[in-house]
């Protein structure tokens, strides 16, 4: 079974702050990491290939320094790594990004499953995985918490807001995973040293036959009008008294606010 895992290098959000003057993310000195949900996707792919055989290919679109994220994925057990990197990909929105990744996946060709993290920590859109599946014309299952292979079929347990849903899908398919699906391994020093020696292929737009009109700024219908840090409303209301009375008062207040 051949699995392609799409990953993104993101700033370590636990160390990110917003500049209150400019409302932009302060990136200076912030370490870059693999998007945490993508680590779950890598772990899942590595485990499934360990069980069923085949290979794991990690794929990322990004600037040349995203190679570090791919090497980390190799240390976690991926077999091959490809970085798609080209100046004309810069400023891609989720539509253009999913287009570029889908053309790279067509170039890789031989795959049974594509895994993604459910969303990226920085953009938080969760739009790229469905976008890739649409561009490729294959089925997609999002928010997977469990994946079981049965011949050419895959049974996927989805984590929804209040319930689980199990769906069956035929390969090839794209699956995005939630963090509860597994505990990503911590690669040892030996694996890291070995990963340093492995090749990370770098493909530009011409390698993947990407249509320049569909990449980067030109291929991105999204326009960012303004970014801002949400103001925090810390004002709360405290109800005191007997539990029964308090409960009644809270419910009435929620009804009055049209929340319930």
């Amino acid at each position: 079974m051949n699995i392609i895992v799409c990953i993104k290098q993101v700033p370590d959000t636990s160390e990110v702050s917003i500049d209150p003057e400019t409302n932009t993310i302060v990136r200076e000195g912030v370490p870059a990491i693999i998007n945490p949900f993508d680590e779950n996707a890598i772990e899942q792919a590595v485990q499934m290939v360990e069980e069923h055989g085949g290979k794991v290919t990690v794929l990322s679109m990004g600037p040349p320094q995203a190679e570090a994220a791919l090497r980390e994925a190799l240390a976690m057990g991926a077999d091959e790594a490809i970085l798609v990197s080209d100046r004309c990909f810069a400023a891609s929105d989720t539509l253009a990004t999913s287009y570029v990744l889908s053309t790279a996946i067509r170039e890789i060709g031989d795959y049974d499953l594509i895994f993604c993290g459910k969303q990226a920590f920085d953009g938080d859109t969760a739009q790229v995985p469905p976008g890739i599946a649409e561009h490729l014309g294959i089925p997609q299952v999002t928010f997977a918490i469990g994946i079981e292979v049965d011949g050419r079929k895959v049974r996927v347990r989805r984590l929804l807001e209040d319930e689980f849903e199990t769906v069956e899908v035929k390969m090839p398919a794209l699956i995005s995973v939630v963090k509860q699906i597994n505990e990503p391994r911590r690669p040892g020093i030996k694996a890291k040293l070995a990963a340093k020696k492995k090749e990370v292929k770098v493909w530009d737009a011409s390698c993947i036959d990407a249509d320049a009109c569909l990449c980067g700024f030109d291929g991105s219908p999204t326009r960012v009008v303004r970014t801002f840090a949400p103001s925090r409303n810390t004002e709360g209301k405290k109800y005191e008294g007997e539990p029964k009375e308090v409960a009644t008062a809270v419910v009435e207040a929620l009804i009055a606010e049209k929340i319930i």
């Binding site: 040892g188 020093i189 030996k190 890291k192």
Partner: protein
């Protein structure tokens, strides 16, 4: 001379910094307070392949030398002194097998010690044989294809938790050091039991136990090096042990300094941060300087070892200086903290209690001075 680490070494050092800050440091005081062996931390060291830094690749190691081993050990001791000491004591078992073992012994014992599947310990000390190794009274007697061991070791670090032990026993006590023989003993061999775990001034989470041998049968193939040549094994191992003690002392002193320099910039008295008083500044400057001296000393000794040069004198000097240094530095860290430094709310009182041990184990300061002087008088013989 080059003080730069290679890219690979730096990657490992960075990884240990990260894991130390994220996983070890937050739990270090709790580990010491509860007195429970830090298995979680040991599991992390295993996952990260950190038990095999100087071991040849052939046996699953990284083959990256004792200098890197020392730097990693310092960081472990800085973020969790207990974990650092387990790491150091483990080498006292791994090293003699690596240096003196047969291929079969290395395959059987060095491999699992290197992967971290097994923890190791070294048993030399006895009630009447500490600094004076020639007085080892644990007796070994050859019977057929087995040696029968009888006697008791005390204060053995990693005792009880370790699977593999390098034990020094005497074939003929009348021969003194020339009767000493090193054996590889496995936990669970018949006649090998563990006695009491000492209650100490500090280091509650580090087991220091009795090893009790009562007609313990050890196969002849478990003799390490040669019968009657155990003194050589013990002395070489203690050389690495001294290096490890210097490393641990520097790590602990750095932890105390880290705490002191932060606290000095938070605490206000007489309307200013106490770090603005020259009395405190001078203390901090002296602490950092002494730590730096000690670090350079253990790194030089480890570098000599990696070059295949004699390093015993330098290791003894590093152990002597850094063990006395860590007592001064941790005491100053408590002093800078003042009253709260004496409470268990802050880790510095624990560092001070732990520091004292370095002047005693692996040869007291007095023994180190003796070793150094001996070497010097040989070098300068007129």
């Amino acid at each position: 001379m080059d003080f730069n680490f290679t890219e690979d070494e730096q990657m490992i050092i960075d990884a240990v910094h990260e894991i130390g800050q994220e996983e070890f440091e937050p739990r270090a005081s709790e580990v010491a307070e509860l007195g429970e062996f830090p298995w979680e931390n040991i599991e992390i060291l295993r996952e990260m392949d950190l038990f095999g830094i100087p071991v040849p690749e052939e046996y699953g190691g990284l083959e990256m030398g004792f200098l890197l081993w020392g730097v990693v050990g310092e960081l472990l001791s800085r973020y969790c002194s207990t974990t650092g000491s387990v790491f150091g004591a483990h080498m006292l078992c791994q090293y003699p097998i690596m240096a003196f073992g047969t291929d079969e012994q290395k395959d059987k014992y060095l491999r699992p010690l290197t992967s971290g599947e097994h923890i190791g310990a070294f048993g030399l000390t006895e009630p009447n044989a500490g600094s004076d190794a020639g007085s080892v009274a644990t007796k070994a007697e050859l019977r057929g294809d087995k040696y029968i061991l009888n006697g008791t070791k005390i204060f053995i670090s990693n005792g009880g938790v370790a699977e593999t032990y390098v034990v020094i026993a005497n074939l003929d006590p009348s021969k003194g050091t020339r009767g000493l023989t090193a054996f590889i003993v496995e936990k669970g061999m018949p006649g090998f039991e563990f006695g009491k775990n000492e209650k100490k001034m500090g280091w509650d989470a580090l087991p220091n136990r009795e090893l009790i041998f009562q007609d313990c049968e050890v196969p002849v193939e478990n003799v390490l090096y040669k019968p009657g040549r155990g003194f050589r094994v013990a002395m070489d191992t203690l050389g690495v042990g001294r290096l490890g003690m210097a490393v641990g002392a520097v790590g602990l002193a750095q932890a105390a300094f880290d705490a002191a320099i932060v606290y000095a910039q938070q605490r206000e008295q007489f309307g200013q941060k106490i770090s603005e008083f020259q009395a405190i500044q001078f203390k901090l400057a002296d602490m950092a300087t002494e730590i730096e001296i000690s670090r350079l000393m253990y790194q030089k000794a480890a570098w000599l070892k990696d070059q295949g040069e004699s390093f015993e004198k330098e290791a003894a000097m590093a152990k002597l200086y850094s063990s006395e240094m860590v007592s001064r530095v941790t005491s100053d860290a408590v002093q800078i903290h003042g009253g709260v430094g004496y409470t268990r709310e802050f880790p510095v009182e624990r560092y001070m209690r732990e520091a004292k041990l370095f002047e005693i184990v692996e040869g007291t300061s007095e023994i180190q001075r003796g070793i150094i002087a001996n070497r010097l008088l040989r070098e300068y013989r007129i």
